[in-house]
């Protein structure tokens, strides 16, 4: 039931996106009524999506005919926002695809081209000027937060690694890993030699 609730929420979100960005409808017109199933390996769940021409429908536990089946981890799926990555991911074995490739590409494309005009939608409630101002301010705030986040990360890393000396530098970590690997190899060689000696 929880899964059904989650798919219902996903359907609601997709349909909200559809109402905010009507170009999605045109982009998906060629793949209407075709079913795309996405298997999320981390959750061991398969979610089926279909576009009926007016709205999206999302189902879990869908056992019927599927036009395209994708199986990947959630990290890999997030990379699908860029349609050009699709073939690379299939080649690397990170993504399994069965069925109609164009269907997967069509969905991948709508998310990569998604550009919702928030100011336009907001202007219905607060007017053109304030809506534009608000969206602009939010964009700037997002940019500033990103910058601040970068500075904060560098400062904290510096503080812990150089001043307080409670954390190690990534290079030290890499060196430690290399040493450990070497030690493991030595131990394996030694184990083999002991086994040979015991076998005599």
């Amino acid at each position: 039931m929880i899964n059904t609730l989650l798919t219902a929420t996903a359907e609601h979100i997709l349909n909200t996106i559809l109402s905010l960005e009507p170009s999605v409808q045109a982009s998906l017109s060629k793949v209407q009524h075709q079913v795309l199933a996405v298997e999320v390996r981390d959750w061991q769940q398969t979610i089926a999506v279909t576009f009926t021409g007016h709205s999206f429908m999302v189902f879990n536990n869908y056992q019927e005919h599927i036009d395209c089946h994708i199986s990947a981890s959630i990290d890999t799926l997030s990379q699908l926002k860029d349609p050009s990555q699709l073939t690379r991911l299939i080649r690397q074995g990170e993504l399994d695809l069965e069925g109609n490739l164009h269907l997967a590409q069509a969905y991948s494309q709508i998310f990569s081209e998604l550009d919702i005009d928030w100011a336009e939608h907001l202007s219905k409630y607060v007017g053109d000027g304030p809506a534009q101002l608000l969206v602009q301010q939010l964009r700037q705030a997002k940019q500033r937060t990103k910058q601040l986040d970068g500075v904060l990360k560098t400062t904290t890393a510096g503080l812990f690694q150089d001043e307080l000396k409670v954390a190690i530098h990534p290079l030290e970590m890499a060196q430690f890993k290399a040493h450990t690997r070497e030690l493991k190899q030595h131990a394996a060689v030694l184990e083999q030699r002991i086994n040979q000696l015991l076998a005599r």
Partner: protein, 251 residues
């Protein structure tokens, strides 16, 4: 004695003459039609929407199909099916009760769904369709109100195309004793009170609770479907067995 058993049937916990049940059920639904949707949401805390979603996921309805949403009431399933079958398919919303059909028709028209939906007042025991003419039949929370369930199942089997399927979404029996007690308390104490407050009709909601208890359990209904001719019958329990979704195929 045998004759009297054949001439009577259950109406909730009461026993009534067979010919009276249909009109008594009709009275219940005439009474609740206007507040049907809001009461469904209130009574099930909105969970009925999830049960219906699950039924749609299992229906296998595709573009071009002909679907019969029997006892479709206010058209929740029809609304989704209408989109799934597209312009080349059609959905028939069937109900024995004209009040419910009118509420359903108004609701679906308000949603802009008009092109591929037909509204037909019909009795599930004698469906007015030719043999082998329907791809999918669904009956959600309707079968328990039908007087002769076996006749209804036979009638559904007759009109289904070979390869077609029937889905029955209906209240059923829960295995958990604790859940059963809570559910009983809720059904017989809180439900009629809610019915009284919202729809000003406690008797109809008392009938609802009683009729659920009189409805055959999961295995019995599965057996009835098999007797009617359905193959590969199966069911899945939802919300601890409070509701079960039965599925059967015609080959």
């Amino acid at each position: 004695m045998k004759e009297s058993q054949q001439n009577t049937t259950d109406f909730g916990y009461k026993t009534v003459a067979r010919e009276e049940k249909a009109s008594m059920v009709a009275d219940v639904f005439h009474s609740v039609a206007a507040k049907y949707d809001i009461m469904n949401d209130l009574m099930s805390f909105g969970i009925h929407r999830l049960w219906k979603r699950q039924a749609i996921a299992c229906s296998g309805v595709r573009k071009g199909h002909t679907v019969l949403d029997l006892a479709g009431g206010t058209g929740d399933l029809t609304a989704k099916f209408s989109q799934l079958v597209g312009d080349t398919g059609r959905v028939i919303l069937g109900d024995i009760n004209d009040s419910m059909l009118k509420v359903g028709r108004d609701k679906l028209r308000d949603l802009g769904l008009v092109s591929n939906i037909e509204y037909v007042q019909m009795n599930a025991e004698a469906l007015p369709f030719p043999d082998n003419s329907i791809d999918v039949i669904t009956i959600a929370f309707g079968l328990r109100n039908v007087t002769d369930k076996d006749a209804a199942l036979r009638s559904m089997y007759r009109i289904l195309k070979p390869g077609g399927r029937l889905l029955i979404l209906e209240f059923s029996k829960t295995d958990s004793e604790a859940l059963s007690k809570i559910y009983d308390f809720y059904s017989f104490n809180l439900l009629p009170t809610m019915g009284k407050l919202v729809a000003n009709d406690s008797e109809s909601y008392r009938y609802l609770a009683e009729s659920i208890r009189m409805h055959p359990d999961q295995e019995t209904l599965k057996g009835m479907m098999e007797t009617a001719g359905f193959e590969q019958t199966s069911y899945q329990n939802m919300t601890g067995g409070i509701v079960a979704l039965h599925r059967g195929f015609k080959y």
